[in-house]
């Protein structure tokens, strides 16, 4: 936990979200941001406030902060993407992990993920749907993510890639890609694999096990 960096970054958070403060948590060995988040729309109209905890994680800035909604203004259920304990599933794990792998900037993280998550909940209250849809739940969402964001749909091919990625035996640049279309360096698969390269091993392992079950 880089406490010095945290304090430096928190000054931006405090300026932008003044009702948030931080405490040190022995339980999580991490700084925890705590307080009220006011949500306004583009016209500056105030819609609602939420009490939140944002656990930055002991590997901060290289861990995904855990967001917990404590005011219980949003139902804590699957439909609202919140666990019974109040943990909010802000986005696909892979996307969040990728952001964390580069180092979290606290204020930007709140602006990009936390604030929109609650804005989306308010949108849902009005429209009974999310503004830009939602990922399917559980492993189905991961399949969707591989398809939509990584353009990988064939479970057999995905398993091959993940196995090679985990054993560090990906094709050499000038060898044919596993999909068989062209040289690996020129194939669109390489971009997708490069994205996955930045993710933690446990994430890739879970994906591998999930896709194996689909074969």
């Amino acid at each position: 936990m880089d406490v010095k960096l945290f304090k430096k970054q928190f000054s931006d958070v405090e300026d932008r979200f003044p009702k948030l403060r931080y405490i040190w948590s022995e339980e999580f060995l991490s700084m925890v941001i705590i307080g009220k988040l006011d949500i306004c729309d583009r016209k500056g109209v105030f819609w609602d406030s939420y009490d939140i905890l944002l656990i930055t994680g002991k590997n901060y800035p290289f861990s995904v902060p855990i967001l917990i909604e404590t005011s219980k203004k949003v139902p804590h259920d699957e439909e609202r993407h919140i666990s019974k304990e109040g943990i909010c599933c802000m986005d696909m794990d892979h996307k969040l992990l990728k952001v964390a792998s580069k180092g979290i900037h606290l204020c930007q993280f709140i602006l990009d993920y936390v604030y929109p998550f609650f804005a989306n909940q308010l949108y849902y209250d009005q429209e009974c749907e999310y503004a830009d849809g939602e990922w399917s739940h559980h492993f189905e969402g991961i399949v969707e993510f591989y398809h939509q964001e990584l353009q990988l749909s064939d479970p057999v091919l995905i398993v091959k890639f993940l196995e090679q990625l985990l054993t560090n035996s990906l094709p050499p640049r000038n060898s044919p890609c596993l999909c068989g279309s062209k040289k690996y360096k020129d194939c669109k698969c390489k971009q997708s694999i490069d994205f996955l390269k930045g993710l933690p091993t446990h994430r890739l392992q879970e994906d591998l096990e999930g896709f194996r079950k689909l074969i």
Partner: protein, 336 residues
């Protein structure tokens, strides 16, 4: 801030109608070619009632459950009015606040005196009203300044301190942001406030009747009442300086307070008052009122960092098209 909108509207109308060079065109036309009639109309339109807040500020007062006391009399704090005309004294704590409003003489270059009167009068009334809704007692009007007491027999020191800080912070925001925006459109730049606040404890404050007969007021004899205007002189433009006793009554927000010498770089500015023989040194602090204000439950900071007083908008006035551009960034997932 939206709570001052009606005061700003007043000021803007006076500025539009009382502009020196334009009065023979716009204002003249607006009032059927009769200048005197136009100015009279301004006066009538802009009259602020003596016993009510303007609606925008009244919304805040209602929300915080405040009923301003418009029956106050200068120099006669209601908790100590029994001292009027007597030689009695009483010791009781008080929070002394000196609000200096530096008004611009440039107003006279651009507007008719009648319009300047309305502008200045509205600013002063906004200050008075803000103090009143937070339980302030207007002790004295001093030229461009206001001397206000907070606290009393049924108010704790902690509560009184919070009331003083809230009202002065709101008024500072009004002058620094709202008023500045309106006046700068006409090139008027140099209106600002400087505020000093100090608390004298029971043993430090003697309430008494000063003067003779009707030429008198019930006032305080206290080092800390005297220090408030001295601290005001140390404040930056639109700044608030508080005494160490005020800091001690604040249970939170100590991170918003820094000794004045940290700003000035001059160690001799740390203490506003010293009695060396008694080893008494009294520290003065800069108070970050903007951050303090932003932390209040009733103040909302929007995405453009603008402050407003707002309650959650009722469902019928929420337009999902306005929240959609923010919500669209979120693609929630669920995997528990």
């Amino acid at each position: 801030m939206n709570i001052y909108q009606d005061y700003l509207d007043n000021i803007q109308l006076a500025m539009r109608s009382g502009k020196k060079r334009k009065m023979y065109t716009e204002s003249f036309d607006s009032f059927g070619g009769n200048i005197q009639k136009g100015l009279s109309a301004i006066n009538l339109a802009q009259k602020i009632s003596d016993d009510s807040l303007l609606p925008s500020l009244n919304e805040l007062a209602t929300e915080i459950g405040s009923t301003p006391n418009f029956n106050q009399k200068l120099g006669l704090h209601p908790d100590f009015s029994h001292l009027k005309g007597t030689n009695d004294t009483e010791k009781h704590y008080i929070i002394s606040t000196f609000i200096d409003i530096k008004k611009s003489t440039d107003l006279f270059k651009k507007y008719l005196p009648e319009a300047v009167l309305i502008v200045n009068d509205t600013i002063q009334k906004a200050a008075i009203h803000t103090c009143l809704i937070f339980g302030g007692y207007i002790h004295r009007l001093q030229g461009d300044g206001l001397f206000v007491y907070y606290g009393g027999k049924n108010v704790t020191k902690e509560e009184g301190v919070k009331q003083a800080l809230l009202s002065t912070s709101l008024f500072s925001y009004f002058v620094k942001n709202d008023l500045k925006m309106v006046l700068s459109q006409d090139g008027i730049e140099d209106i600002n406030t400087r505020i000093g606040i100090d608390l004298g404890h029971d043993d430090d404050v003697i309430w008494h009747n000063a003067g003779i007969g009707e030429i008198s007021e019930v006032t305080t004899c206290s080092l800390h009442t005297s220090l408030a205007p001295k601290m005001q002189a140390f404040a930056t433009s639109n700044g608030i300086v508080i005494g160490d006793h005020v800091k001690q009554e604040m249970k939170t927000d100590h991170d918003l307070i820094t000794p004045v010498c940290h700003r000035t770089g001059n160690e001799s500015d740390r203490y506003i008052f010293e009695i060396r023989d008694e080893n008494f040194r009294y520290t003065q602090h800069d108070f970050d009122w903007l951050k303090f204000l932003k932390r209040q439950d009733f103040i909302i900071t929007d995405q453009d960092n603008r402050l407003s007083f707002q309650l959650p908008a009722p469902y019928e006035v929420r337009h999902s098209d306005n929240i959609r551009p923010i919500a669209i960034k979120s693609n929630p997932y669920y995997n528990f």
